[in-house]
Each structure stands twice: as C-alpha cells, then as structure tokens.
Symmetry: C2
Subunit: 199 residues, 2 copies
C-alpha cells in the first residue's frame, strides 16, 4: 500500500507539468489551479507555496510552451537546408515561418499560452531557443547571403512576424479554421511569398 508522503518533493515542477497538460488540451482558460493540484494529487492550496497566484502559474506554463515552440522551430529549420547560399537561407527562412504555423495548428493550446503576452514578463526557461531569436538569425542570413538588402533588415522582423502570426490566428479559431486544408496551404504559401518578395 503506497501512501503518499506529506511532502511531494517537486511539487512546483509537477504543477507546471499538469497545468501545461491542461493548456495543451483546452487552452489557457482551461488552466485552473485547483484542477492542476487535483491531478498532482495535492490539496488545492499547496500551489500557493510555489506560485503567488494563478497568473504566476500561467507564466510558468507560458515559458514551458515557448520552449517547446522554439524546439519545433529549430528542428524544422535544421531539417530544411544546411548550406550557406541564398537558396539555403531562403529555405530556412520559409521553414521558420512554416514551423510557426505548424506549432500553432498542432499545439493550439500551447501556442496560445506562448502568445499570452498579457501575462506580463515571463521568465524564460533556461534552455529556451526563442522563436523570435531564430527569426532574427534567419533574417541576418538573408542579408549576409544577399537575398535582401541591409536597408530592408530594420523592420523585417515586424513584417515577417506580423504576417505569420496573423495567419496563425486566422487559422486557429478565425475564419480560416473552416476552410479545407489545401486552400489553407495556398493561403500560407501566399503569405510566405508576399513576405519573402516584399521584404
């Protein structure tokens, strides 16, 4: 007969894991302190020993989601092209954009957590490879390989990020959520083309 020890041992991590699970299942609103505690098998108020309030837990989950997000993006970029020429740089750039949308569609709950900016400053996980940083690297590559001019570098993050993030939003629960996949793909391709040619 296994009896639970009074002290959990690593409750903070367990709560973050449970809350991340909740977020992955049904989005940020589904992250409820009491349910996370329940799943960990601990009294609801135990959470307050590790998080000032619900928002603090949400911030931790957001950091976790951001880390997963960055991992997927890094994987997709690495899997796209390895050269140092124009084509490879362009391919990696496109891969980063596609990874953004892929994460949003395959992990909608976590994506929304990662983008829950209204939570305020989120202390990033130590191992995070931030998507924004990866985008910046892609853009630097585009400049260094001569795909785009240095003059265009300045606001390129904003333009690329806006377009891809907006598309992800439209797909998530927006108007594009009800269009067939092939049409959605054409939309994404067009968004990426506009960014790459306009940038």
């Amino acid at each position: 007969m296994q009896v639970m020890p009074y002290h959990h041992g690593n409750l903070r991590e367990a709560l973050i894991a449970a809350a991340t699970q909740l977020a992955a299942e049904h989005g940020p609103d589904a992250v409820v302190l009491r349910e996370a505690a329940r799943r960990v098998g601990v009294s609801h108020n135990a959470a307050y020993r590790h998080f000032a309030d619900r928002d603090a837990l949400l911030r931790a989950v957001s950091a976790r989601a951001m880390t997963e997000f960055g991992q997927l993006m890094a994987t997709r970029i690495a899997g796209s092209a390895t050269g140092h020429d124009k084509d490879a740089a362009a391919a990696r750039f496109e891969a980063s954009g596609r990874a953004y949308v892929e994460f949003a569609t395959t992990h909608p709950g976590l994506f929304r957590m990662a983008c829950a900016w209204s939570l305020g400053d989120v202390a990033p996980d130590a191992a995070v490879n931030h998507p924004y940083a990866q985008l910046s690297e892609r853009l630097d590559e585009l400049v260094s390989t001569g795909v785009i001019t240095p003059a265009r570098r300045q606001n390129a993050e904003i333009a690329a990020w806006s377009a891809v993030h907006g598309f992800a939003m439209l797909v998530l629960d927006g108007p594009l959520s009800v269009v067939p996949p092939d049409e959605r793909e054409r939309g994404l391709a067009e968004v990426l083309r506009v960014v790459r040619e306009g940038i």
Copy 2:
C-alpha cells in the same frame, strides 16, 4: 421618487450596451453577466430571458463591436481618396489597413471582442459594414485599376488580413506594446509596404 417599473422595456438592448461598455473598458474577460445586469439595475437572472448564456451575450457584443469596427474603417477609407485611378485605389487600400490597426489600438477591448472568433457564429448587426467586405472591395479596386494582377487576387485577402491582423496583435499586448510610437509607426509602414509590393 422615481420607482423602477417591473418591466424594463428594452432590457436586451440595455444589457448589450452595458456589456459593450464592459468590453470596451477591460476586454472580453471583463464582460460578466452579473455586472452588466447590475449596471442596468436589474437582477442578474433577468439576463437569461434574453440570452441563453454568457456566450450569447458575448456574441451580441461581438456583433456590436464589429459594427463599430466597420464604421471606423468606412470613415477612414472615405476620408483618404475619392478617385478611380491607381493612386486613389492604393490610398484607400492603405487607409483600410491603417484603420484596422487604429481600431485595434484605440478600442482594444472592442477589437478583441470583434475578433473573438471562438464564440462561434455571430449573427451580424443589420447595419454592419463588415471590415472583411471592405477589404475585398479595396482589393477588387486594386485589380480593376491595374495596381495588382488578377492572378494575385485569389489569396490577397488572406495575405493582407494576416499581416495587418498580426501587427495589431503584436501591438495590442504583444512585444510591440512597449516600443515608442514612432518605431511602431515605422513597423506599420513596413508591414503595409510589404503587403502592397508583395501582393
């Protein structure tokens, strides 16, 4: 001494107005049935005679917000250019994009309500001039005046909408919420340029 009549007379409208006020003040999450009823001076359960549940009220507010959104956009478009030439069409197109961001920044709560797509199908107000329809008209103009080719017309809504919507999101509570206005303006200008030249 003015005594409240037992029957309000137009409770549905009054509740929508109060709820819209709440949304305008602090966003969708601040739209709480009981508070709306309180402001109207009616018992909280009276709302259920007019709305099946909270979401139904939110849908009504969303429709209201969308109407306001469309009005601003129409105003800005009308105020930008009136001709039928390329330049005028392009100016109106840009004005529609700027109006999108203007509404998002000046009415963040209502903007979020208008974009609360997860609410499901929202019955539009009768008088609504839907932003999406106005965008389509702008794009049709760009084609008919020869600014863009008909071949590019197909997915142009998606590209334009994605870019501008994404930018609005980044500005609302995203990373761009903390950058100075002039830098924000340069970002917006770049987004609009990329769309116009890439499309």
